[in-house]
Subunit: 243 residues, 2 copies
Amino acid sequence: MSPPPRSDGDGKQISNLLLLAIPRQEWEQLHPSLELVRLKLHQVLHEAGEAIKSVYFLNDGLGSVLTVLPDGKSVEVGLIGKEGFIGLPVVFGFKTSPLRLVIQSDATGYRMDVHSLQKMLADCPVLEKRLQQFAMTLGMQSTQLAACNRLHDVEERLARWLLMSHDRIGGDTMPLTQEFLGQMLGTRRSSVSMAANILQKAGMITYTRGNVTIVDKRKLTDAACDCYSIIQNLQSNWQAETK
Amino acid sequence: MSPPPRSDGDGKQISNLLLLAIPRQEWEQLHPSLELVRLKLHQVLHEAGEAIKSVYFLNDGLGSVLTVLPDGKSVEVGLIGKEGFIGLPVVFGFKTSPLRLVIQSDATGYRMDVHSLQKMLADCPVLEKRLQQFAMTLGMQSTQLAACNRLHDVEERLARWLLMSHDRIGGDTMPLTQEFLGQMLGTRRSSVSMAANILQKAGMITYTRGNVTIVDKRKLTDAACDCYSIIQNLQSNWQAETK
DNA sequence: TTATATATGTTCGATTCCGTACAGTATTGC
DNA sequence: GCAATACTGTACGGAATCGAACATATATAA
């Protein structure tokens, strides 16, 4: 494989791992259609049930994939950071997504409109393959989250969630409200409040209005369920299998 | 697209929708590697974490995709019948699966060994595309099940589960124990016992040792959560989008 | 038939979580 | 500054579920 591109035309450093992994030739194809954008906290990139207009390669920051029920309740079923791609249904020929995609921390990424991607894919086999594999990996992550959300209690899940986000963001402080966490964990805010309190009193995290800081990652890992490490291993093992 | 093959060389009627959907040329390629097999109730086709040796196209019957936690508890994250394919990770170049695949009712299908499929895929673009799309559809099903299993209570989920299986099997009586249902729904057996009792007393189902019969589908549908119809719509809408 | 394994009904207290409400505190907008 | 908004702590009764145990009934095998 050719050496990966290091920066786009404007000198911006590229961090998205999928874009870094494709050969130069494919990058040249893609490049003109990519637009660097800033994505704000809580911005909704795709609304559940609606047509997908743009797709995104994140450079930094984090997005959450949510299943939303008719009554408005939601559960997180996936996390997408710089290792991934936002807009997977398009890769497989679908026009809409049943899932909501929300930005979890201020992010930057490359936006591309759907039609450009569709045209491009035929000429970019490596990218296409990588996108498909990412879809599969994300799917596996979501099945583990499904089990976790069914079988583990709020405190364990909260610890697991904080660790997963922490790993993908880099930086110990994250902009999070209890209400938001409730939507991720599929529980009500006051349950989050109590769980967060316990973690704080145990010296694992501190938080103020809208911000959570991890202060003792080791302790927090002990408080989390095994799903945290299981998901970590999933990703790394599967990356190894396809080399 | 060429007319689909109607039967294999031995005159056996093919019911698997993926096999029916591929052009004759691809079928000719595939055909010699397929072996018709019977799959028994509760047979485990893939064990979580192990290498995948064979893949399957079901003709009839039903398989469940399960996430299994270290403590042995499990949750169903997908259902695969004659519309689908068992062994998706292989399609994307992965060798193992983190999921368990269990047969839920006596089934028949075509088995193929992994290496044959891998060789074949390059020459069968239509099949490959269909498999990829099925993977995406199944992924979406699993996200809905994730939300359902988190947010709805046992009685609704049990009704939903019975309806989904019923639709995919054809036949009102299904071989099911409460213990098995508990593993599907991610709950303990005695919760299933109580929920099943309620549905029975309400005249929706009857059951004896190891068998459940649906007697009033309409009522049962009312007792199930919206997830039942949501998943139905998912599948049909998405099929429409890619035509 | 008898013994054994399997499947189901039911109970117990304990725990978690629910829905909801209200009070207190911090931030934002004017 | 003040008012309005947003975020958090906490409480309440009630519901659902848990883990575990025991009794009973049905099927299977010896």
